[in-house]
């Protein structure tokens, strides 16, 4: 029942999102739209809304997988160096193959993100005191190290300013033809759903998984693959969205528990809804200008994150 309510909210917000913009287009006149109005719809508005939904789903699912696999509620793309690694990947593409298509950026970003995730897990594994706060702090430090590497090379190649702008997620540049890479999130979400139970099992540890006849390593790597690929695709097209992967899975976990197979749909849809709301707010607040979505998400997300943190204590 609940899932139906969420779906209705998602559809409603998507429609709302489609009809917000400088050019006024009315849903009532759908049958008398001019060619120009159709064009705006198909080239700009629809891609933007789709990108928002996919990003919302992708990031929150990635956060969820990461939290399950590390058994730590505060690990997410923001707090494990994942986003920074994706950024480094994009930088590498710009240096080695300038003017390249986004598919190359994706490949580089993916390779480095995957590597960084494995390193992060190794670090997290070797930490003796697995305090719930300590691991994400280490993740933040790890991200900081990667970031400084990025900045160093960006400085050498005189592209510091470009790199700076990747940090802030932005949907205003989404147009038909430049965002399609993000569709890679779709098969990943489906894959995640089928492997949901296995992710939950390996979250309980290597021995536990072995006892149930599961190959711990291969599932772990599959999980990292899913996360790295989606986060890279999102970083390449939109940039980075902070906190999303942290707060949505945590709220859903508080409400519905941690059985992934059951909570996954809730997490996915809520992520999309949350992002749509943040985007709509950002577009309306200083209409006809826009507040970057990274800001609205960061603001709302930061507050929610603080509340979660205090509650856990």
């Amino acid at each position: 029942m609940r899932i139906l309510t969420l779906l209705i909210a998602l559809v409603f917000l998507s429609i709302l999102s489609l009809f917000i913009g400088v050019k006024e287009i009315s849903i009532v006149d759908i049958f008398s739209w001019t060619d120009k109005e159709w064009l705006i719809m198909t080239i700009s508005r629809l891609p933007r809304t789709l990108a928002l939904i996919l990003t919302g789903i992708g990031i929150s699912i990635c956060g969820l997988i990461m939290q399950q696999m590390t058994q730590n509620k505060f690990v997410s793309p923001t707090t494990a160096g994942t986003l920074e690694a994706a950024k480094l990947g994009i930088l590498a593409t710009l240096i080695f193959i300038p003017q390249s298509a986004s598919i190359y950026k994706l490949i580089f970003a993916f390779a480095i993100t995957f590597l960084a995730s494995i390193i992060f897990l190794k670090i997290a594994d070797s930490i003796k005191h697995k305090s719930i706060i300590f691991i994400p702090v280490v993740g933040l430090l790890f991200g900081g190290v990667i970031n400084s590497i990025t900045t160093f090379f960006a400085f050498q190649f005189n592209i510091v300013q470009d790199v700076g702008t990747w940090l802030i997620g932005d949907f205003s540049g989404i147009l038909q033809g430049n965002y399609e890479v993000i569709y890679i999130c779709l098969p990943i979400v489906v894959l995640t759903y089928f492997y949901a139970n296995k992710f939950t099992v390996i979250g309980m540890g290597e021995n536990f998984s072995k006892n149930l006849g599961l190959n711990y390593r291969s599932i772990l790597h599959l999980g990292l693959l899913c996360v790295s690929l989606s986060i890279s695709a999102i970083a390449v097209t939109i940039g980075t969205i902070p906190f999303l992967g942290l707060i949505i899975p945590n709220i859903i976990s508080l409400l519905y528990g941690d059985n992934l197979r059951q909570t996954l749909p809730y997490t996915a849809i809520s992520g999309a809804i949350f992002l749509l709301i943040c985007d709509i707010v950002g577009r309306l607040i200083i209409f006809p200008f826009e507040v970057p979505i990274g800001m609205t998400v960061g603001l709302i997300g930061g507050i929610v994150f603080l509340i979660l943190l205090l509650r856990k204590k």
Partner: protein, 252 residues
């Protein structure tokens, strides 16, 4: 039947399990005893293939464990380690359902649901089945994990200190359940246990380890005697017979 031949495990220079050969009888409870660091848990771990032995082979049902597929072995043998800090918000029923994983990979069938229900009832958890694990007491959590193992329905069940952190009432409850499992369902149970009186009262066989070696393996009656126990633990024991069971007094 579980049979190990010349199992050895060493970490660096330290030999933890030293050339252990043992054949564990089917359908019985066997306790592994010995002082701390004697290699009991490591031996148990190698049998459960969560630790790779450096030497030797382990045969389960006439077949070497390295020849088993993970999934198939998980239908024959289960292990429950000293538990079990868990930072997941799962209900008792969800946890127990994972016991059926080797059979159905998470897509539960009619049979699975039946087994899950049965396992929960077996451990007296029916009333708590929809509670989250984090809401339960230590004893209840331990029972929930045992229920998962029961649902896994393997012929061989390995337990690493199943009474850890339990008070006396719950310890007795768990041991009675285990006895029940071995008698009514013909399960072979091997457990590492520190309380010699629980071992003496409830197990059919006792295997004693010292400094990595298996130094004694016999029926409980033959192990519980002052001379052998002194050899194992280096302290004096007085054996009291009560109700046809042997109780050890080593508190002096």
């Amino acid at each position: 039947m579980i049979k190990t031949t010349n199992i050895s495990k060493q970490y660096g220079d330290k030999i933890v399990v030293d050339n252990v050969t043992i054949e564990i009888p089917k359908g019985k409870i066997t306790s592994l005893i010995g002082s701390n660091g004697a290699g009991k848990s490591t031996l148990l771990g190698t049998i459960a293939r969560i630790i790779n032995a450096n030497h030797g082979e382990i045969i389960i049902n006439e077949k070497n464990i390295t020849d088993y597929k993970n999934r198939i072995l998980a239908q024959e043998l289960s292990i429950l380690k000293q538990m079990n800090h868990l930072d997941l918000k799962l209900t008792v029923k969800e946890l127990v359902s994972f016991g059926r994983f080797p059979y159905s990979q998470g897509r539960l069938t009619e049979v699975d649901h039946l087994k899950i229900k049965e396992a929960i009832a077996f451990l007296n958890l029916t009333e708590l089945e929809n509670n989250y694990l984090e809401e339960l007491s230590g004893g209840q959590q331990q029972r929930a994990f045992l229920a998962m193992v029961v649902a896994q329905d393997t012929d061989y069940i390995l337990l690493d200190e199943p009474l850890n952190n339990l008070d006396m009432r719950h310890s007795v409850q768990i041991m009675k359940t285990l006895k029940d499992l071995s008698v009514t369902k013909n399960k072979t149970i091997v457990m590492v246990i520190h309380d010699i009186n629980f071992a003496s009262y409830y197990s059919d066989y006792i295997a004693a380890m010292k400094q990595g070696k298996l130094i004694h393996f016999n029926t409980t009656k033959n192990i519980i005697n002052p001379k052998i126990l002194k050899e194992i633990y280096d302290i004096d024991f007085e054996i009291i017979e009560s109700n046809n069971k042997l109780i050890c007094n080593y508190y002096n």
